[in-house]
Amino acid sequence: MSNFRSAQDKAHPNKSSTLMLAIITLLILIVALQIWLLYTGLNNALTQHADVALIACIVSVLLFVAAVGLLYFLPGKRR
């Protein structure tokens, strides 16, 4: 039975390469957003706005979960 992984393994290397680049781009975007969230959360925590730091933390954790989820779509090793 064919599934997502076997189809991905059979795809042309150009397609796998494009997918890999797309995933890395998304991961860089996620990391950039998280850096901004950490900076904002820290600044607000230091001005006694704990609520903003909490929201920044929740969003950052959600972004991390999304980043881990993206790893599932990484093309397998070339054989």
Partner: protein
Amino acid sequence: MEQQQETVPDWKTDFPYSTVETLQVTRRQFAKFLCLVSGGLAAGSALVAIKSAFFPEKEVTGEHFVCNRTALPVGGTRSFTIAGSTIPYILIHLENGEFKAYEQKCTHLSCAVFYQAGTNKIMCPCHNGWFDAATGEAIQGPPPRPLPSLQVIVKGDEIYVTGHPKNS
């Protein structure tokens, strides 16, 4: 054939490795590393949130005497600390007659800040940061936050400082 086997050390046979794999980072590895960085940033944000929610900085309580009114001319400043704390503060007698008290640490990298008499501005000489002396707001340069302030209470000739009320 025997010669070839002699040139390959035994440890390489036991622990074979590819030079390319050890010297180059694959895109898979890079993606996983980005994920690790993402986890680190999420953990950092969580630490900040936990620290601010459960271990907030202690508020200044009670009134603390700083100096007599006559000891601080218009445009003058006085550095002080509060008993039991090492945080340096600065009391400023503004040109409009008001007294203001701020932490004497820049919110950028904690350099000591100074009041520029006549300009109504507080400057940080380290990276040319400027604050409004009337409000403590950052008006120029790298400081990301306003200067933390204290409430000033003038009782006759004596000047006291205290923390701001919680809901202000």
